[in-house]
Point group: C2
Chain length 313, copies 2
C-alpha cells in the first residue's frame, strides 16, 4: 500500500477542472489535483461569499466564481461537490453552458438519487460519470481539505450502462492520480453498501449523542466528563456536516430504513440475551466482531493505533 502520493503527471489529464462547492471534499480535490498536476486550470465555484473569500486566501484555485453556469464554460471536467440534495439544481443551472464532450461527475454519498436528479438535465454529448470517494473527516469547509484525503481510500464509480468509456477511463485516472483505488458498482448496490458502512453508523452515532443529551437523570456535563468509556468515539462522526448528512438520509431513504430495521432486529435479540442472562450469545458476538476490526486494519482502511493513537502523555 503506497504511503504517499506518487509523482505528479507530466501532462495534465484535464484542461479546465471546475469544482462546484468548496467544502472538505472540494478543497481536498483542488489541493490533490494541483499537487498531482491533474488539471491545467482549477476553477472553484461557491455560492457563499465567505467561502469564496477563503478559497482566494488559501490559493485553492486559479479562478473563483459565484455563478456555476459562468464557470463551466469551456470545462472538460465539472465535479459537483455540493450536498446531494443540491445536485439536481446545479445540473439544471449549468446544463446550457456545458460544452459538448464535457464530463460531469459528483462526489455524493448517495448515487441512485443523484443520478435520477442530474441525468435528465444534461444535454446530449455531455458524459455523466457519478463518483463517490469513501473518505472524509468530521471537519467541513474550505479550510478542512488536505491533498492526501483520498490516498488509499476507495472511490466508487457508478456510470450508467452505455456511458462513453473514454470519459469513464478519464475519471478513473483522475481518482487514481489522487491516490485512490477505483471500484465500479451499480448505483443500487452502492447505496446498499454505503447504507450499512456509512449512513446507518452516522445515524446511530447522531442518535446516541442526542439521547445522551436529553436524559433527566444524567446531566450533559456528566456525559461529557465520563465520555472516555466509549461514548466519545461516537461523537467524532456525530460532528459531521449537518446539511450534507440531512441530504444523505433523505436521498437514500429506502436502503437506510432497510439496514436500520436489520440493525434493530439484531439489537432486540441482544437486549433479549441481556434480559435472559444468555452470556454465551453475548460472548459469541463480541468475539466475532474482533475479527472484523482485524480485517479493516489489514486492508489498510484504518491504522492499527491503539485507542486510535490518541496521545498518551
Amino acid at each position: 500500500m503506497p504511503e504517499r502520493l506518487g509523482s505528479p503527471r507530466e501532462t495534465p489529464l484535464f484542461r479546465r477542472l471546475v469544482l462546484v462547492g468548496i467544502g472538505l471534499i472540494g478543497s481536498s480535490i483542488a489541493l490533490a489535483a494541483r499537487r498531482q498536476n491533474l488539471a491545467e486550470r482549477i476553477v472553484a465555484v461557491d455560492k457563499d461569499e465567505g467561502v469564496r473569500a477563503r478559497v482566494a486566501e488559501l490559493g485553492l484555485a486559479d479562478e473563483i466564481h459565484a455563478d456555476p453556469a459562468q464557470a463551466v464554460a469551456g470545462a472538460d471536467l465539472v465535479i459537483l461537490c455540493v450536498p446531494v440534495g443540491a445536485c439536481g439544481a446545479v445540473a439544471k443551472a449549468i446544463a446550457p453552458a456545458l460544452a459538448p464532450g464535457a464530463i460531469v461527475s459528483d462526489v455524493g454519498s448517495v448515487k441512485g438519487a443523484v443520478m435520477a436528479s442530474v441525468e435528465p438535465h444534461l444535454p446530449e454529448g455531455v458524459h455523466f460519470v457519478p463518483a463517490h470517494p469513501v473518505a472524509g473527516t468530521e471537519n467541513s469547509g474550505p479550510d478542512a481539505g488536505f491533498p492526501t484525503l483520498f490516498l488509499n481510500r476507495w472511490s466508487i464509480l457508478t456510470p450508467a450502462y452505455g456511458t462513453d468509456s473514454d470519459a469513464v477511463e478519464r475519471v478513473r485516472a483522475f481518482w487514481q492520480g489522487m491516490g485512490a483505488n477505483v471500484e465500479f458498482m451499480s448505483a443500487p448496490h452502492h447505496d446498499l453498501v454505503l447504507a450499512i458502512t456509512s449512513h446507518v453508523p452516522h445515524l446511530i452515532a447522531y442518535n446516541i449523542v442526542g439521547t445522551a443529551a436529553d436524559l433527566e437523570r444524567v446531566t450533559e456535563k456528566e456525559v461529557i466528563k465520563f465520555s472516555a468509556g466509549g461514548f466519545r468515539d461516537f461523537t467524532r462522526i456525530a460532528a459531521s456536516d449537518p446539511t450534507m448528512w440531512r441530504d444523505v438520509f433523505l436521498n437514500n431513504k429506502e436502503a437506510v430504513l432497510e439496514m436500520l430495521s436489520r440493525f434493530n432486529e439484531d439489537l432486540a435479540a441482544l437486549a433479549r440475551a441481556i434480559r435472559w442472562d444468555d452470556g454465551e450469545a453475548l460472548h459469541k458476538l463480541f468475539t466475532r466482531t474482533r475479527a472484523i476490526r482485524r480485517g479493516i486494519i489489514s486492508e489498510g482502511q484504518d491504522a492499527p493505533l491503539v485507542d486510535f493513537g490518541r496521545p498518551r502523555e
Copy 2:
C-alpha cells in the same frame, strides 16, 4: 490539564499492593504505581499460567501468585481487576486471608452488582472502597498496559455510607497519584451514567458490526473495504475484551435496558423523520450533536485531532 504524570511520591502510600487479574487495567496500575512509588511491594495474581509468565517477563510485579488467598496475606490494598462477574468469587476466596484494616477495591465498570457480590464476604475491619477508572483501550492482556492510562481520566469511587474515611482518602490519593481525577457517586447513579456513556455505546457498536457481517446482499469483504465511511470508528470499541463486556451487560442489566429503550425511542423518531422527509428535524439534531463533541474536547476527554489523528501520509 497536566500533560504528564507528576513526580513520584517520596514515601509509598501502601506497603503491599495486590492486583488480582493482570489485564489491561491490572498491568497499567502495576506500571503507574511503580513509576509513582505508590506501593512498596507490588504483587500480581492471575489464574492463567501464560499471563503469569508474561507478567514475569515484563517485570510488572515483585511477586507473582496463582492463588489470591496466598497473595493477599499482609496486604494493605487489594484491587480486584477481574471481569465484574468474577469479583464475588475472588472476594470469597481471599476473605479468610485478609488482614484487619486492609482495604479492598476493584475497577469494575458496574458498581451495584459488584458491591452486592463482594461486601457480604468481607470480614469486619476490612474496608471496601469500590472504584471505577473510566479509561481503557481496545487491547487486553498484560502487554496492553501503560502507565499513563489513567492520566486526566476520571476514577469514580462509590463507597457505601459509613465506610472508613481514612480508607476512602487513601484510595483517592492512590488514583490521584496515577494522574486520575476522582469523583464520588452513589452506585446506582454510577451505573446509570455508565450505561449511557459506555455500556450502550459498546452494545450498539458490537451490534452494528454484527449486523454488517450478517448481510446477504453486502459481503463482509465490502463492509471492510468501504469502512472508511464511518463504520470503522465503531469497530475499535467492538474489538474490546468479550468476557469483560459480557459481564458488564449481565451485571448492569436494568440500567442498560432502560437506556437502550430511550435510544430506541429516539431512533424510531429519527427513522420516522427520514421516512416523512422531515429534513428540519434531522438538521436540528445533527447541529446539536456537534456541540457535545466540542464539550468533550474542551474537557480534555478527547484530543482535537481531526479524524482521531489517523496518519495522513
